[in-house]
Amino acid sequence: MQLKFFGKLAEVTGKPTMEITSIADTDSLLNKLLQDFPKLKEYNILIAVDKKIVKQNQQLESHNEVALLPPFAGG
């Protein structure tokens, strides 16, 4: 499935998009990302699956598009 990173998260991962396979749900995805990019722990991360923001763990399928974004403060 495709992951899209926004703002500082893209700076931490080094790329705005990433392909990932066989991840069961959003919690496992987040755990894997935190393992691969420990610096992500510093951010409040909002997750959207197929353009819908999810607040609870959600099952993922290979066709899903997952967006991960941090809050912005600038004005």
Binding site: F6, L46, A48, I53, L69, P71, F72, G75
Partner: protein, 376 residues
């Protein structure tokens, strides 16, 4: 009623059947508060003024700096050192003499925010730090005002409309439904010194202005329940659906008195709030004025010792987040457990996630209390 000159001035609005004279009169009767007259505030103010919003409040305590001129398009070299709010109002009044401006040059705080915000029907967030964003969001929730949100980071922007209620529909989500918890210190190195593409706040600010005009005239579909993300480098636009979540709105103070006492200034360069402690002897003194205290036991209900001296409120540590509304925000709340471990952790979480500033940790918990006061 619009006069002859206004009918000419606003003719391109009036020619739109969706707006017409009736819509333009709604704009004339509208009262909008713009918080922050910087990168986002400048374009918002320019277009609300040109579009004929009748009364505009401008909140900004800051002065114009040379580094602002790359994006804050209301200001010129001669304005450096002047107050943004006053300078903006003077320029805008030249653009449209039909608009009434009120400037607020004091810093927005929990002491004045409710009073200022309450004078307006729609609030625009053009601030540059998380503290003020959470404070403005909470004030809008308390006062039931829609909040037009915009935020920028380097080449990317976010826009949404929070806490907006259209007749017959449920109230829209708030900023806390998106980000319930303010970010930690480490992720906000220094809010004012991050590079930003100068035109980006222009793009995001004009979208905010468009949302305000749509809401006033009642046309189109505002971004309530949706978060728009714009990347100026790729021109990718994503719109994500957001739901209002009651759970996260619990972080908002429940009344004006709590709001005035809430502490929003503990991140973004400010020192994080330390955990305040008291020992058993100090608690004994405090107990003499027990009506000013709330005692919170975070042990499980079956734990020993049973304490009758100051039983007040028991919420087991694991249930705290669900029952956080039982905690007073005005009294001194003494949090205790058996030895002081859980109470300390509870305070850390409550301060970080719910902005409590009235919590005290009982050192060494009930064991310390029993030893210190020879009581059982």
């Amino acid at each position: 009623m619009l006069d002859k000159n206004e009918l000419v001035r606003y003719s391109r609005h009036i020619l739109l059947s969706e707006i017409g004279t009736a819509g333009q009169e709604k704009l004339k009767n509208a009262k909008v508060l713009v918080i922050g007259a910087g990168g986002l505030g400048c374009p918002v103010l320019l277009y609300l003024t040109a579009g004929g919003v009748g009364e505009i409040g401008i909140v900004d305590f800051d002065k114009i700096d040379a580094s602002n001129l790359q994006r804050q398009v209301l200001y010129t070299v001669d304005d450096i050192g002047r107050l943004k709010a006053e300078t903006a109002a003077a320029k805008l009044a030249q653009q449209n003499p039909y608009v009434k401006f009120t400037v607020f040059t004091q810093q927005l705080t929990t002491q004045n925010a409710l009073e200022i915000i309450n004078q307006y029907a729609i609030i625009v967030d053009g601030t540059d730090n998380f503290s003020t964003r959470y404070m403005v969001n909470d004030a809008c929730v308390l006062l039931n005002k829609p909040l037009v949100y915009g935020a920028i980071y380097r080449f990317e922007g976010q826009v949404s409309v929070f806490n907006y209620k259209v007749e017959q529909q449920e109230q829209g989500p708030t900023y806390r439904c998106l980000f319930p918890v303010p970010p930690g210190l480490e992720s906000t190195p220094n809010c004012s010194e991050i590079g930003v593409l100068g035109v980006l706040p222009g793009m995001i600010g004009t979208m905010q202005a468009a949302e305000v005009i749509k809401m006033i005239t009642g046309i189109g579909t505002p971004l309530s329940g949706r978060l728009l993300l714009l990347n100026a480098l790729t021109m990718d636009v994503n719109t994500l659906e957001i739901k209002r979540t009651c759970e996260t709105i619990k972080g908002v103070p429940t009344n004006a008195e709590e709001f005035r006492k809430a502490d929003y200034a503990f991140f973004c360069g400010d020192v994080p709030t330390a955990i305040k402690s008291i020992n058993a002897k100090q608690l004994l003194v405090l107990l003499k004025e027990k009506d000013k205290l709330q005692l919170l036991d975070v042990r499980n209900s079956d734990e020993e010792p049973v304490i009758n001296d100051f039983f007040d409120l028991q919420i087991p540590f694991g249930d705290l987040l669900d029952e956080v509304e039982k905690l007073s925000r005005t009294k001194q709340v003494v949090v205790f457990c058996k030895s002081g471990m859980r109470s300390k952790r509870a305070i850390e979480i409550l301060q970080k996630e719910f902005q409590f500033n009235n919590l005290y940790h009982l050192e060494e918990g009930l064991m310390g209390w029993i030893q210190g006061n020879q009581l059982t």
